[in-house]
């Protein structure tokens, strides 16, 4: 399985399907400790990215566009579209994550080292923008273990699929681990102690996003 631009596009399309299917769950999580718009925002954002991918693919087919398609091109398109359409804090945060990821994936396919670099860059972008650190009950609590697990899997000689699977599993565990935390960053921090007992919606959507990256491995390109 090669992680090329087709894979990246399947990843984004898969994410759009996943957040649409889980919209109510994300909205409910966000209603408990935020303003209840996280599900709706992500559905709108990824739907907009898919529309742009569709438009671009139509164009490619019609004009036989020259040059290779790069993984980073897909991620950059995702970044700018999410920033324009998601709104709130998660637009800039996910947008910056994809923008930084795009900067280290400007190639036709990415190897295990590049997968790790992609995830590291995404986390770095989120950290720079959101100023959150682990343990504050934010999406950083899913991204940080994901990056660590990916680096670990890569150092143990795992292939691209193994690295992505390790990242996705760690993100899911990290999201679950936010349940007992008291939020000290982001909107949920306004609730103080009352934020404990609820899973952070940003950490949950991060787990869904990285899960979709794994699922995109198994799909055949159209």
């Amino acid at each position: 399985m090669t992680l090329d631009a087709d894979w990246a596009e399947r990843w984004i399309r898969r994410t759009a399907d996943t957040v649409a299917g889980r919209r109510d769950e994300l909205t409910e999580l966000d209603r408990q400790i935020g303003d209840g718009d996280h599900g709706e925002n992500l559905v709108r954002g990824f739907r907009a990215v898919v529309a742009k991918l569709d438009a671009r693919d139509g164009q490619d087919g019609a004009t036989e566009a020259a040059g290779p398609r790069l993984v980073g091109d897909v991620l950059k398109l995702t970044a700018t579209t999410l920033m324009s359409t998601v709104g709130g804090a998660s637009g800039p945060l996910y947008g910056t994550a994809f923008l930084r990821a795009a900067k280290v994936t400007g190639r036709e396919s990415i190897d295990t080292r590049a997968v790790v670099a992609m995830l590291e860059s995404a986390l770095e972008g989120i950290t720079v923008r959101g100023k959150a650190t682990p343990g504050e009950k934010t999406m950083v609590d899913a991204w940080t273990p994901a990056v660590d697990a990916a680096a670990q899997a890569a150092s143990e000689g795992g292939d691209e699929a193994a690295v992505l699977r390790a990242a996705a599993a760690a993100a899911a565990a990290g999201a679950t681990a936010t349940i007992p935390l008291v939020a000290t960053k982001g909107r949920a921090s306004y609730l103080g102690e009352r934020s404990a007992g609820h899973e952070d919606p940003g950490a949950r959507s991060t787990a869904l996003l990285l899960g979709a990256a794994v699922e995109a491995l198994a799909e055949r390109s159209a």
Binding site: T80, S84, G87, A89, G91, P92, G95, T96, R129
Partner: protein, 238 residues
């Protein structure tokens, strides 16, 4: 060197109202408000913020941007990260939104460069510390008033009485501050830095108060006279 100012708020009404307020005190400065969501409602629109920054950058030499709450700051930072060319001509100035915008607009009107305008935003925050009795930057940077000027430096002190009914409120304070910038002189009015519109307003000077104007540097005498006449004239409100 012209500096345009972009005001990014969570609320369209706040951004527009602030542009109006600061614009009254600095009519020649380009102020671009960007606030709220396109369909109405509170929030930040990446496209609107990016468009406001581009519009300001195209019309000026440099841009200073202020952002208020929540995702406003994130959106500004993201817009600058996406467009590196734009980022080269834009300075994001952290500080109090309303007071910072007023101080920035007056500084820009007086010909300050982007760093100077950004410094005015930062210093605007210090006026709160001064009001609360904490040491402010003016306490640490103001020179002693004992007349111990450097060799050959002119120091001229004069007085003028406020004649207009509302005293040294926002509009006249801005007029004094802009005149000080225009004169290029170092001026204190009742012990505060007269180039800072916020410090002048914080004097709370009302009608009938006699203000002490101290000017240092070349041309001090004529500068002091100009300012005294301006204050004594009642700013067209008396």
């Amino acid at each position: 060197m012209s500096v345009a100012i972009v005001l990014v708020s969570h609320s369209a009404a706040v951004a527009q109202g602030l542009a109006e307020l600061a614009g009254q005190m600095a009519p020649d400065v380009m102020l671009v408000p960007a606030g709220g969501l396109p369909g109405g409602g509170l929030g930040s629109s990446f496209d609107d913020v990016a468009a406001a920054l581009r519009k300001a950058a195209e019309a000026s030499d440099a841009v200073v941007v202020l952002a208020d709450l929540g995702s406003s700051v994130l959106t500004v930072e993201s817009a600058l990260e996406v467009d590196e060319e734009l980022a080269a001509s834009v300075v994001h100035a952290p500080g109090p939104f309303v007071e910072g915008a007023v101080a920035a607009a007056v500084a820009a009107h007086g010909g300050a460069d982007a760093d100077g305008v950004a410094a005015a935003v930062r210093d605007a925050g210090l006026t709160f510390a001064a009001a609360a009795g904490a040491p402010s930057s003016s306490d640490t940077t103001s020179r002693p008033d004992d007349g111990a000027a450097a060799d050959g430096e002119d120091v001229v002190t004069t007085t003028a009485t406020l004649r207009n009914p509302l005293g040294l409120h926002a509009r006249p304070a801005a007029l004094v501050s802009r005149k000080v910038a225009e004169l290029g002189a170092s001026v204190q009015v009742d012990g505060v830095d007269a180039s800072s519109v916020l410090q002048l307003m914080a004097l709370g000077a009302t009608q009938g108060r006699e203000l002490t104007i101290t000017v240092r540097g070349p041309g001090a005498a004529s500068a002091a006279r100009t300012l005294a006449e301006m204050i004594g004239s009642g700013f067209g409100e008396a």
